[in-house]
C-alpha cells in the first residue's frame, strides 16, 4: 500500500540520500539555464525543457539544436535517442512497482532519471517495499524541485549578464568537463573521439544533421570496443 503519511522518516531519508547528487546536478541545471537564456528560443521554452523533458543531456541537445536552427524532426529524433536509456531505467523500476496503484506508477515513472533511479534502487535493495517507495519519492521530488529551480536561476542570471563574459561558452566547457573523465573507459573513449570527429567533419551538414550522425558514429565506435567484464 502507498501511504506517504506514515513514511515521513523514509521520505526524509530518501531526500537526504539525494543531497550528494545535488552537488553535480545543480551546476548542470544552472548551466542549462544560462545556455537557454543565450539561445535563440523563448525564455519560457528553455525553462519548460526542465519539467517536460526532465533529463539534462537531452535538454542540452534540444536547446542547442533549436538554437542552431536544426529541422524539428532531427531535434526530436536526436533528443529521444539520447533518452533511450530511460527505457532501461523503466525496466529496472518496473519490477518494484508491480501491483502498485496506477496513479503511483504514472507519477513515479515521470520522476525517473539517472539520480532518482540510483537513490531509489538503493532503497529498494535495503528496505521493505512500502518504505522504499517513500524513500524513492523523497529523493526524486527533492531532485525535481532543485533541478527546476537551478534552471530558472541560471536563465534569470544568464539573461542579465554582459556579453564579454561569453556565457554562450559555458555549455561547451561544461560538456568538456563531463567528457574528459570518461576517456579512461576504452568503449567511452572510442565513442567520444568518434563523435567529436564526426561532429567537426559534419559541421556544414544540411538540417544540422551532424549531431545525430556524430552520436550514431560514437555509439557504433564504442560498441567495437570489448565489453568490460
Amino acid at each position: 500500500m502507498i501511504s506517504l503519511r506514515a513514511d515521513r522518516s523514509d521520505i526524509a531519508a530518501g531526500a537526504r540520500a539525494m543531497v550528494p547528487w545535488l552537488a553535480g546536478i545543480v551546476p548542470f541545471g544552472l548551466v542549462i539555464g544560462v545556455s537557454a537564456a543565450q539561445a535563440d528560443i523563448p525564455a519560457m521554452a528553455g525553462w519548460l525543457t526542465g519539467p517536460l523533458i526532465y533529463a539534462g543531456s537531452s535538454q542540452v541537445a534540444t536547446i542547442g539544436m533549436l538554437d542552431a536552427g536544426a529541422a524539428p524532426v532531427i531535434v526530436v529524433a536526436s533528443a529521444l535517442i539520447i533518452n533511450i536509456r530511460l527505457i532501461f531505467y523503466s525496466a529496472t523500476m518496473a519490477r518494484y512497482w508491480r501491483g502498485t496503484p496506477w496513479w503511483w506508477r504514472l507519477a513515479a515513472a515521470y520522476l525517473i532519471v539517472d539520480p532518482s533511479v540510483a537513490v531509489g534502487l538503493d532503497g529498494y535493495q535495503r528496505l521493505s517495499r512500502d518504505r522504499a517507495h517513500a524513500h524513492y519519492f523523497g529523493g526524486a521530488v527533492l531532485l525535481w524541485v532543485c533541478w527546476l529551480a537551478a534552471i530558472g536561476a541560471g536563465a534569470t542570471v544568464g539573461a542579465g549578464l554582459p556579453a564579454w563574459l561569453h556565457l554562450e561558452f559555458v555549455m561547451p566547457l561544461y560538456l568538456v568537463g563531463a567528457v574528459v573523465p570518461k576517456v579512461t573507459s576504452p568503449a567511452q573513449r572510442r565513442a567520444i573521439l568518434a563523435a567529436a570527429t564526426v561532429a567537426l567533419l559534419a559541421l556544414s551538414a544540411p538540417l544540422q544533421l551532424g549531431i545525430a550522425l556524430a552520436i550514431a558514429a560514437g555509439v557504433i565506435a564504442g560498441l567495437t570496443a570489448e565489453p568490460r567484464r
Binding site: V76, L165, V176, A199
Partner: protein, 106 residues
C-alpha cells in the same frame, strides 16, 4: 511555434520511455547490446555537442581570435585532469577565455 512543438514532442516521448516498461512489465526483454549502446549515447552526445560548440565559437573571427576558445578548452582539459573535478572545466576555462580574448590581437 515549432520550438514549442519540438519541446513538447521530446517531453512526451521521454515520458513514454519512462512509462514503457512499468506498463509492459515482464512482457518484453531488451537485448543486451542495446543496453550497452544506451550507455554510450550520453558521452557521444556530449562530445559531439562540445565539439560543435567550440567550433562555432571559433568561427566568424580572425585567425588569432579563433585561438581564444581553443586556449580556453585546453585550460579546461588540463584543469579537469589535474583536479579530477568536472566543474573545474568552467572555473578554469571561462577566465582563460576572457584573458585570451583580451590579449590576442583582433
Amino acid at each position: 511555434m515549432s520550438t514549442w512543438i519540438v519541446i513538447v514532442a521530446v517531453g512526451l516521448g521521454s515520458y513514454l520511455f519512462r512509462l514503457s516498461m512499468v506498463i509492459l512489465t515482464g512482457r518484453i526483454t531488451m537485448p543486451a547490446y542495446l543496453e550497452r549502446a544506451s550507455g554510450l549515447v550520453a558521452p557521444a552526445a556530449f562530445a559531439a555537442l562540445a565539439a560543435a560548440g567550440v567550433a562555432e565559437a571559433c568561427g566568424g573571427h580572425g585567425l588569432t581570435q579563433a585561438a581564444a576558445p581553443l586556449i580556453a578548452v585546453a585550460a579546461a582539459v588540463i584543469a579537469v585532469l589535474r583536479t579530477g573535478s568536472p566543474q573545474a572545466a568552467i572555473l578554469a576555462g571561462l577566465p582563460a577565455l576572457w584573458v585570451a580574448t583580451a590579449l590576442l590581437p583582433s
